[in-house]
Amino acid sequence: MAESKTFNRVVGIIRPYVKNQEALAHVSADTSILDDLKVNSARLVDIILEMENEFDVELGDDEADKVRTIGDAVSIIDAKTGA
């Protein structure tokens, strides 16, 4: 997953919201957006909205709630876009 185009685009969306930029150097599918990258919950909503724009998809409330890690986001987007 770390090599996928979706993964890299998701990391690019998250990057501006990450307080600890050093943590981005070691991201993987299992990286928690809130706990590992220290993104706060309000900014996570902004990230969900940006992912909707970037990938032209809509994430329902329950789907958005499942986005805890970068891998979660990639899996949901890939499922929606058929990637």
Binding site: I48, A64, T69
Partner: protein, 211 residues
């Protein structure tokens, strides 16, 4: 009493976008926000209430989905309604710090909430265990603030308390709510909630079964 809290650093939070507001507020809440003298402050008050209420209800169900629009804030009644229960909330503002604390039911019982800047709380000279000190500056700061709060409520030395956040059992992921330990024993009767955002930290504690 089961407590929850949330804090917003208004300067760091900025002005929420229209899509953000549409994503997290119900139509009724959006109408109220449109009429509010300071719409931005109003949105963040509702946001903090939803976050604090979620922390309360998630104590009973760690897998409770957090869909903001399913948490209905009634600012006039100072309650948050959800299909799982009604949570009472209170707000306080000090400069850019907006804090909301929440509890189940109408009677808070013994409950306390404190707010500090990260720098203020980090300067408190309380010892942290290895686990407590493993987080970032805000995590350490809010634990120091919590120890001060617990010491005040329970009449013990701050260093006697340990704040733990054990990983939740599978299939849940991530750390569970904070636990309070004293002299190596978990204090089941103490409910503790921690929050940090931007420059601020906040801790709220209540005593279960005490009214």
């Amino acid at each position: 009493v089961i407590v929850g809290n949330d804090i917003v650093d208004r300067l760091a939070a900025g002005v929420p976008s229209e899509r953000f507001v549409a994503r997290v507020l119900t139509p009724t809440e959006r109408a109220l926000a449109a009429e509010a003298p300071d719409g931005t402050a109003f949105v963040w008050r509702l946001w903090a209430a939803k976050e604090a209420a979620y922390k309360v209800l998630a104590r009973a169900d760690g897998e409770l989905p957090f869909a903001h629009r399913r948490f209905h804030v009634d600012p006039a009644a100072a309650v948050v309604r959800h299909e799982r229960g009604q949570v009472t909330v209170r707000w306080a503002e000090d400069g850019a710090a907006l804090v909301c604390w929440a509890w189940l039911g109408a009677d808070a019982g013994p409950l306390a909430c404190r707010v500090a800047t990260v720098e203020e709380a980090e300067a408190v000279p309380y010892a942290l265990s290895t686990l407590e000190g493993a987080g970032d500056g805000a995590s350490r700061a809010v634990r120091r603030l919590a120890k001060w709060l617990l010491a005040t409520m329970l009449g013990r030395e701050p260093d006697a308390f340990e704040i733990r956040r054990p990983e939740r059992p599978a299939p849940a992921r991530g750390a569970g709510p904070p636990e309070v330990w004293l002299d190596g024993l978990r204090l089941e009767q103490v409910s503790l909630s921690l929050a940090h955002d931007g420059r601020f930290v906040s801790a709220a504690a209540g005593l279960r079964g005490a009214r």
